[in-house]
Subunit: 375 residues, 2 copies
């Protein structure tokens, strides 16, 4: 096919993670993206679907997940056609997820890869300012369409965060790459791993570093071309996968997919490409990665506490105290503590300092080892 017709915009929401870091609320059969963490009325995934459509037509919004979570997502009452839930044969990180989605899009749309523009989004971000988000997304789609580059949204940092990766951008924007609305796009100089605090503070001062949001936009032709340059062996799997899908050869799909590396798209592709643009995002944004994120996404009381389920707090500061056990089922009280996370469900309790919230995985691993029914 020739291409360069009207671009078809599609959105791919990555929703494969199990969210162990929200234990005891998240479980193998109750993943983070189906929890109402940022908005008490709808799940993280429902929020993600709502804010991307518009601008992307519902028909062209895909959610990629795994076999365990697929039935849960189907039953979650989302505004999502059943066939738009894509089920990966196994877990192959974001590289597998995006290659799988690209192959499905090529098969289903029967369009030239040049004409399919894919936006990659996640299901675990809190973005309360949806209008500003949509403006940025429109600019990122436009940049992808105007440039043949890989495009990412880089968030303007608001604090010297050490938990995110950073992107160094060129000093001046690329002319005409952004949208009509005047949102600029910059060339990416380099991706930087999670920094230490001193480095993060330097990054913040320069005004040249943005947070890596994990949101990407590209023509499928650009994606395939850059992948071919960065990693030809992986790129070779894409036409194989497309062919197997066209033949509905499930065994072949599984074989080809399982040979993909279990590595992130940042590592496999983004960090190696010289054709990456970034559109700065200036909407409020939080990666709801673990319990400590809640004090940036939910309202705090005047002592900095975020609570749910009406716990009793006596002389408590800067804590997350989350009682999910349901009306009156558990009385939860904290006295004289600060910077602590306390989460209570009907069958699980975790207590840990905010700055250790990533380490909840260690506790979940131990519970799994013990065969506890609560994981």
């Amino acid at each position: 096919m020739a291409g360069r017709g009207t671009p078809i915009r599609i959105a791919v929401i990555m929703a494969g993670g199990t969210g162990e870091r929200f234990w005891p609320l998240s479980r193998q059969n109750r993943p983070k993206q189906l929890l109402k963490l940022a908005d008490p009325n709808r799940s993280m995934l429902a929020e993600a679907l709502s804010r991307i459509s518009p601008p992307v037509s519902t028909d062209n919004v895909f959610v990629v997940t795994g076999k365990t979570l697929e039935p849960l997502i189907q039953r979650a009452g989302l505004r999502l056609a059943p066939q738009n839930v894509l089920t990966e044969p196994c877990k192959r990180n974001t590289t597998g997820c995006l290659i799988y989605a690209a192959a499905v899009a090529l098969v289903r749309l029967k369009a030239d890869p040049t004409d399919v523009v894919m936006g990659v989004l996640t299901a675990d971000h809190s973005i309360p300012e949806e209008d500003r988000f949509r403006e940025t997304v429109a600019a990122a789609f436009a940049a992808a369409e105007n440039s043949d580059c890989l495009v990412t949204i880089g968030m303007k940092p608001t604090r010297p965060e050490t938990g995110y990766g950073y992107i160094e951008i060129a000093e001046n924007p690329v002319p005409q790459a952004g949208s009509d609305a005047g949102v600029p796009a910059f060339k990416v100089m380099q991706f930087r791993e999670k920094p230490n605090l001193a480095t993060a503070m330097e990054f913040l001062e320069t005004n040249r570093f943005l947070w890596n949001s994990g949101m990407f936009f590209w023509r499928l032709s650009s994606f395939l071309k850059e992948l071919q340059r960065a990693n030809p062996e992986i790129a070779a799997r894409v036409p194989q996968l497309v062919e197997a899908m066209e033949k509905r050869d499930t065994a072949a799909i599984e074989n080809i997919f399982s040979e993909l590396p279990d590595k992130s798209i940042d590592f496999v592709l983004m960090e190696h490409s010289r054709n990456v643009l970034v559109v700065p995002g200036e909407f409020r944004w939080n990666d709801v990665g673990a319990w400590d994120a809640l004090d940036r996404t939910l309202p705090c009381d005047n002592r900095g506490n975020v609570t749910a389920g009406d716990p009793v707090l006596v002389d408590v500061q800067n804590c997350v105290v989350y009682n999910d056990a349901g009306a009156g089922a558990m009385a939860v009280a904290c006295v004289g503590v600060h910077d602590l996370i306390v989460v209570v469900t009907r069958d699980g309790v975790v207590v840990l300092p905010k700055n250790r919230s990533q380490d909840i995985r260690l506790a979940v691993a131990e519970l799994k080892k013990r065969g506890a029914p609560q994981v």
Copy 2:
């Protein structure tokens, strides 16, 4: 009656408290003394009964409690005759408790007050070395019988504790006041309120200060005589109470009792008497007053943690993590915390630092105010 026959030793165990400081394990209908806090196989009250009998005959062991707790104690399967559970008409602190018990003893034993020697014990002490305890109790009974003084057991302090009252003793023991076993008795110079840390450290250095254990021994004649000297108005209630009890006049009993002050016997009597002896106790002893006491009464792991109910601990030090929810009902995990108390039952959770363990009452008060069913 003339008196100075063979002394009759009786024991009075004060068990009126509701133990709010062990919430959420303790409740209005599950008081501290019926919890298995120090010994996993028997309640605090069962321990108290076991260690006092012998030396005191079971028939002469009385437990004093209130109307709410009386049926719970009767049903607790204790080695205790039903009529030996004494029910105070209302709460009048330790003064009311001991006056009530003294009056009952005078009515039931029909003996001269000189011949009745009452030992006062509590239901919330952990005393693992029962034999050494019994030696000391024998010495305290002997001192009360040989001296006509009020006698208390003073614990040899092992740390500069700021949570207990102290007793300053004379330099040399009183000749022949103690038992045949050679346990000495000392004259009390003064009672001292809970000290600050600097004062507690001074006390510890002098070797002249003992912890006030709240255990007392006296002939009823000595008790009545010293009470008459210290507070004639209160002392006058005793014969009134005896008379009302002999007539089984419940209304009169309630009237007389309710006029007693809601004050401790230390405040009303001990601190005013010049005839107080103390027998030093050198057995291991802990006032199981609040959750932080458990790390002195229960075995610690090699990181100083006391646990129950098999919680998951990751990088946790010097904590009390008590999961009482029953086998497998609640998965409890702590990560990266220290010096914290975490208690979980099927319907309640509390988190507080060890050094705030007294303040659990503030949380319980708030729960009561809210009408929470868990208090």
